[in-house]
Amino acid sequence: MYVAVKGGEKAILNSHRLIEDERRGDRGIPELSIAQIDEQLGLAVDRVMTEGSLYDRRLAALAIKQAQGDLIEAIFLLRAYRTTLPRFGASVPIDTGRMQVRRRISATYKDIPGGQVLGPTYDYTHRLLDFGLMDDEAERCQAVSAPAEVDAAMPRVTDLLGRDGLIEEETAEPDETPIADLTRDPLTFPAERPLRLQNLARGDEGFLLGLGYSTQRGYGRNHPFVGEIRLGEVAVEFVPEELGFPIELGEITVTECQMVNQFKGSKTKPAQFTRGYGLTFGHCERKAMSMALVDRALRCRELDEDATAPAQDEEFVMMHSDNVEASGFVQHLKLPHYVDFQAELVMVRSMRAAAGAKEAAE
């Protein structure tokens, strides 16, 4: 006779033991350390920190280790940890104009004050497998330091354009203007740009990459130029209530992309260049660029452009950009749906029976 399946709790516990075992793999191979992940899988750490919305290299590395290298799972782990942290307040906005630049390129000008600094990039590597890396004992080359320090002054390209009035002016919100926080309040639409940027900063790199790409292929075309991409370290400052002046908490690595976009002007605005903005923790250039493209596309409303493409549809973009939400809901299909399925079975059978009876009668 049939006996209903029991033992869910035991199965779950055993499943946890299995993943622990699989994560460790062959015990004959040395275990990965957090420091190794941090140092040698640094770009993975950067992505997890960016989309996990938490700047902590060690915890991001731990999440990557715990998730067996599944970065979306690692992002989820970091987010779930982040949500439990107390809030002390908001930092002073970081000033990327004062960044200690390690890489800085512009595609709009051949030379600019401060110069082009290629820095670390895979851009011009030939994608040939480096079989030398198979040998994990081999000596690795050391980068030579530049013959001269990079210029301390590195004005942002968009600021240079702004001096001539060629690009739209960007004014900071007054300090007292409350900025919505999407980790505290549900999204409501229409969403203002600060909220959109928060959403894009946490958004899935792959989703934003696809959307950004779609604007280049004509789905909401906006003629982008890379005004500037810069990578480096910036100070994070905080004003404690009792002091009343900013103190430096430390520094973080960020990648910033300022996209410069053509704009023919509208009834109310003269022709001038417009902006798309991308910012990530660590070195996430592809993400920063995609974010900037989508940011610009989502500004269609304020610039009186027709919103016809997916990348211009803020509700569509913002409701589907978060990979922790998306991953959870897609994967929840693995949960039992016996009850709904049974309801569908009953209905399909009854509809087939009705159709059969009708056919027989005809």
């Binding site: 049939y2 209903a4 399946v5 869910g8 949500t83 922790v324 949960l335 749906h337 059978r349 509809m351």
Partner: protein, 304 residues
């Protein structure tokens, strides 16, 4: 820092987190939302849903509601598909055992809070009980109009004509309304509301129920409620009144002809049988039956 925001760890056995995991500020926000939800039956209140240590789509909304309602004296029951021992029900029950240390039970009548996914228990609920539904898509108009900006206007104006048109098109094409679960209801004559994907079999249980029914959608960040003793009507037409599923068979384990049945495939030659989806209800009935009694049926025909 004021006294009210100071973290006080009075958690369950799992130290390091607040009682029932959520911090007090988050609970306050959710509690305010729940009270507004009760005051506006069937209206989806936006709330600042938090990231939970369980994945979105796996009950994070229900968990946040339960965590905000739950007290040390409560007795919690968790079911998924009507069963206490499905993996996700086990996992959520363990979460609250660990973070709140509350008593748990499988006995429907003993529970003061029941968190559920996809079912309403067969045993009638009573005053003093809170039924918390896990909701994947809280917006009943989503399939007609995916934009929140639009569906919000439709709710504001009680403009539900499109929903009736969709149901009527079903009748025209299929001779019946082709919605077997998540069948839309109207709450207290005003808001069209998604009953979460319970089978329409359970819809009538929502009507004038003495218990408090709360709905949590974590990923979509909505909470809504059906207060006790509130009218809940499944949308229908005079010439096509609402009907629930019925089976020709009875439960093979307890003989019930009144409960919602799950179909179980017993072999690869077309053999199948039907058993209660509500495992506690079924176990109680089996226990009350003489031990020697034969199974009620070994294999059934098809449902109608």
């Amino acid at each position: 820092m004021s006294a009210a925001t100071a973290p006080v760890a009075t958690g369950g056995p799992e130290t390091g987190y607040n009682f029932a995991y959520l911090d007090e500020q988050t609970k306050r926000m959710i509690r305010r939302t729940i009270l507004k939800a009760v005051a506006i039956p069937g209206y989806q209140c936006p709330f600042g849903g938090r990231e939970m240590p369980l994945p979105y789509g796996w009950g994070t909304g229900g968990i946040q509601v339960t965590a905000s309602v739950l007290g040390a004296d409560d007795t919690l029951k968790v079911i998924d598909q009507g069963a206490d021992d499905t993996t996700n029900a086990v996992s959520i029950r363990r979460f609250f055992e660990r973070t709140a240390g509350v008593a748990t039970t499988e006995r429907t009548e003993e529970a003061t809070i029941i968190q559920t996914r996809h079912r309403i228990p067969e045993a009638p609920l009573r005053e003093g009980q809170v039924l918390v539904y896990q909701v994947p898509i809280p917006e009943p108009l989503r399939w007609l109009e995916p934009r929140e900006t639009e569906s919000r206007k439709m709710h504001a104006l009680a403009e539900y004509g499109a929903m009736h048109v969709r149901l009527y098109e079903d009748i025209a094409h299929h001779g019946q309304i082709a919605t077997a679960y998540d069948y839309p209801v109207k709450v207290n004559g005003r808001y069209v509301t998604a009953p979460s994907p319970i089978p329409k079999f359970d819809n009538p249980k929502m009507h004038m129920n003495p218990a408090i029914q709360l709905f949590g959608a974590g990923r979509e960040k909505r909470i809504y409620a059906i207060p006790p003793y509130t009218r809940v009507e499944s949308l229908d037409f005079e010439d096509h009144p609402f009907e629930v599923q019925r089976w020709d068979e009875v439960c093979a384990l307890c003989g019930s002809s009144e409960s919602y049945l799950d179909e179980v495939i017993t072999d690869d030659r077309g053999g199948h049988m039907f058993v209660c989806s509500d495992t506690y209800y079924c176990a109680e009935r089996q226990a009350a039956r003489p031990a020697a009694a034969a199974p009620w049926s070994e294999a059934g025909g098809s449902a109608k």
